[in-house]
Subunit: 390 residues, 2 copies
């Protein structure tokens, strides 16, 4: 079976962009193309998958083809992949399978979201529909409210506290402050993050990711062509994906995302590793409680010990057992929904090639992980990457 | 490399449904499951791809997971594939690649659209955005108007006439009148179709497909497990897909869909056949002119000879060289956008197993084709199926 590597990756800065959809995509694609060490032409791309949620909000349709047309990939078979906030995590998985199928040698996976063109009402709509509608949204539950329920329950079951969440926020802001592509490039103090404006009790402003624009683009290649393009490929060592009940009340527990646990189990097995082998992870911290739970679901902490993990600063850059969100994560790097999954891959690609800002480089990084969640956990994709093949 | 077969397929009737999204999907999935000859459980599905355009219009999100949850495929990795009206054609292609990748043995590809819940304004919006927005839609060009331009140009370049289009309409209504799953099950006379209410000159009501609800579900399997489920598999012999410029003015010609030509070339090559070997084809006749052009782009008629092909009734059931749209096509069977691509596969599956109504069975059918177009031709997926493996 063919092995797959990432040979190029690029993204826009995340934030409030003057560029529109086509401009952002062209910039991300151009950065990915030019990150390839050898000769490369966009016309060599055999297949493309682009993740996005809210194209409709931008009043443009059939956008996958529109975007590849605007990045010199004329004629390429392309489709949009939508899976709420896990859209481009799944676009990446599908790109990986396209190469493994033998149908394609070079495949683009990307993601994009333009959130700051939307009116506040439309933003709420597109965000809200990523969770359950019939039992939750139409009853008034917001997205922060959904994760607030998880936080309250975690506090109750395991004795974790809001201070644990504050630690996560402070850490991710610190990491993001060193990332020139991050939406929010500033540190926050523990005191400031402790006393943030309340959004959904117990989650404050500093527990919630910002509303970002952005695009990301990743180029995957089959093992037999990789060396034409780079001597420093980043190998995809494992891919796992899963789904779960959309509504919280249908799940056996709301302090675990079962889709994360199932996805990571599969990805670790394929990679032939355990969670102990992971040097750093880009996890889906749409809210700080989501990162806390992810550290458990991905196996970095025991079930219920995510609060302690955060309290002990285990995820802090080059300090603890595994660096969590060296990019700043969704909290600080930003969260342009459809772009987030492949944006995580961009970070892993650069970390494993020692191409990030030196002050936030994970030391001796040889295995990285991406964790991309859709909605409140109804979909999830986890990927394991390595400097070495397997 | 692993070969792939369709082992089960089912769909709802197309039309104006009382059922909502979940109900329609559950019905289509149940029909697909129960069409499998051997023992089968939905929990055996390894991966799923569901095509749809307008979920947003239905005020539900993260819907791929919602639908698999409502069809007993709990936990399966699933995503929505969106590519305008080619959404489930691409969902099928992605399902096929998932199996060829070795990652999955049994995969579901499906599609769904609930159009009659939408207000007229929302319908126009979701339909309109499938074509170019900036140069066409915002300048007032409707979707029928887009295809009307193609028709006028074809008449001008090749001497085809509206009577040729009427022939296509009459044929598809005749085929659909025998299909119990079709939206419009009635014949129309040449005279009536000639004098239809004008929609976009030269296209009348009888040149345009209806606004349909519906869902379809197809189950694919890897060669090494096929015989556990059926002795009458339908093999996927070739898959081709492509994209094109979204705006008409960027294309070298508007009397050809280049994406169709490229897709079919690839699919024929993979199947080891030519267009002459195709016994019947389900083609994307959102408008009659689209079928006329497809007969050329798929190689059933010479370039410019699509009018003559229609005039000679070459596509009529068991009369001409190749039966076109034995189901009734989008014109008569109906066009629930996201469901159309896998709905075409349902028809091919049943035809090749001699399971359709006997009066519309294609005689000695051994090779069938599906042709699914996104928007005005910016995306296309073509698949070739056979009773024999290759």
């Amino acid at each position: 079976m063919v092995d797959v590597a990432v040979i190029g990756a690029g993204q826009t800065k995340y934030g409030n962009h003057a560029l529109g959809l086509k401009g952002m995509w062209a910039e991300a694609a151009e950065r990915a193309f030019s990150s390839i060490d050898g000769d490369f032409s966009p016309s060599q791309v055999d297949e493309a998958f682009i993740g996005s949620i809210a194209f409709g909000g931008a009043q443009l349709g059939n956008t996958a083809a529109l975007l590849t047309e605007h990045s010199a990939m004329d004629g390429v078979p392309v489709r949009r992949v939508e899976n709420a906030c896990a859209s481009s995590g799944f676009a990446f998985r599908d790109a990986w399978m396209a190469i493994k199928s033998g149908e394609a040698d070079i495949v683009v996976a990307g993601g994009i979201e333009k959130m700051n063109d939307l009116t506040p009402e439309r933003k709420r709509y597109w965000l809200g529909v990523s969770g359950d509608t019939e039992w939750e949204r139409l009853a008034g539950l917001t997205f922060p409210g959904t994760y607030a329920l998880m936080a309250r329950r975690h506090f109750h079951e395991y004795g974790s506290t809001h201070d644990d969440l504050v630690n996560i926020s402070v850490k991710n802001h610190l990491h993001g402050s060193m990332n020139k592509l991050a939406h929010i490039q500033k540190e926050v103090s523990f005191e400031k993050a402790s006393n943030g404006f309340m959004v959904a009790d117990p989650l404050t402003l500093y527990d919630c990711c910002p509303t970002s624009d952005g695009a990301s683009c990743v180029i995957l290649a089959a093992d037999h062509v990789v060396r034409e393009f780079t001597d420093s490929p980043v190998w995809v060592r494992g891919s796992g994906a899963a789904s779960d009940h959309l509504a919280l009340h249908d799940r056996p527990s709301i302090t675990q995302l079962r889709a994360t646990a199932a996805s990571s189990k599969r990805a670790y097995h394929q990679a032939g590793i355990t969670s102990n082998d992971v040097d750093f992870a880009e996890v889906h911290d749409c809210f700080t409680i989501a990162e806390l739970m992810a550290t458990e679901d991905l196996g970095f902490a025991e079930r219920g010990a995510g609060g302690q993990f955060a309290r002990n600063e285990e995820g802090l850059l080059n300090q603890g057992s595994v660096t969590i969100n060296p990019s700043g994560g969704l909290k600080s790097k930003g969260h342009p929904l459809g772009s987030t999954g492949t944006g995580q891959v961009v970070e892993v690609f650069k970390q494993l090639r020692s191409e990030v800002e030196s002050n936030r480089q994970v030391r001796d990084a040889s295995i990285g992980l991406t964790h991309n969640v859709g909605g409140s956990g109804a979909t999830c994709a986890v990927h394991v990457f390595g400097r070495d093949r397997n």
